[in-house]
Subunit: 233 residues, 2 copies
Amino acid sequence: MSTPEGISTPARSPYDLPDVSGLVVGVLGGTGPQGRGLAYRLAKAGQQVVLGSRSAERAHEKAAELGCGVRGADNATTAAESDIVIVAVPWEGHAELLASLRTELAGKIVVDCVNPLGFDKQGAYALKPEEGSAAEQAAVLLPDSRVTAAFHHLSAVLLLDQSVEEVDIDVLVLGEERAATDTVQALANRVPGMRGVFAGRLRNAHQVESLVANLISVNRRYKAHAGLRVTDI
Amino acid sequence: MSTPEGISTPARSPYDLPDVSGLVVGVLGGTGPQGRGLAYRLAKAGQQVVLGSRSAERAHEKAAELGCGVRGADNATTAAESDIVIVAVPWEGHAELLASLRTELAGKIVVDCVNPLGFDKQGAYALKPEEGSAAEQAAVLLPDSRVTAAFHHLSAVLLLDQSVEEVDIDVLVLGEERAATDTVQALANRVPGMRGVFAGRLRNAHQVESLVANLISVNRRYKAHAGLRVTDI
């Protein structure tokens, strides 16, 4: 990271983050491209990962394809057996799934990475959830969980491409509780090239989720798999 | 820019951009920090720049402080004498100013860089303009202009810091008309370190404008002047 003269900040984080290497990470909706990509990268980095799906059988199958010790389970078992639960389901099924897992997700760190988008002939556009954002919807539906938002801007193609050694991206992490966002930042930092950056409270999640519509425009124009880096930190 | 194996894209732009070196750039609300910072960087890069303000006298004074050949004028004169007009006024005065300059801005490329934000004890949060975004409000008020959105995420502190040689940032450029967004990208590319990146249509401007709230959170946490880079392009 470039640091203009007179401004000196450390490259990864200005403070100590917790050791998350022993935590189990579940991925709800883990059989989709985004979920599989995250599961693959985290498992490859040494994390214990459970891939969740509505169908346990499908989860087993997709987990076996990924290798790296990834296990498969139905979504409820995944939630119950994990310390950190990443929500990577399509926006359409978001509210229903989370409402059904309130008990299993109680006390857990929930990481919402869902991007509510619509698509038409002109490409993608932001949908505005009634609660403000997917993450805020999760917080409403899961009052006993520690809800954060992160991992929105990752390219599933790059995550799943085994020839890509380092994922060149910053992960914007949002949430209300410092210990929870620190944990999610530390989790992102486990993946080579990835960096977790605190980027505000959940009330500012909508624009982070929606920015994926812009990255889709970038990808179309530049034939790329665009991500973001935050400069000067 | 890192390019994972198998994905090869040029570093700055996948297509030819127009030569904008002869165009006059006006900055409405140019006496504020953001406007002055942009005027300074563009003028230093060799662009002809007119700094606009409600008060011509104040504009003259601030222009003289910046040097680099920057001229000062009242906002209406600035609009009339410029080819590209950057709108850098506070959100509160945005609609009124643009409505008053519809004639002067007809046919011009207008670059809206206004971020509608609210502030309270917990920091910054996004305001949602009735039209969808500041840029879409500009498009409604200026039907005869070529409205784009860009230059949202720049740190005025870094722009105005003469010891900073290169501004380490990508400028997301949005708009409906390819020739207009190409021109604004080319303008951004004039500033050392800055790169203009096409990032979608105006209907996706709200999240780009609002993301400044997140950058403010980053700045508070990391004691930084954060900006963005788009990866893989």
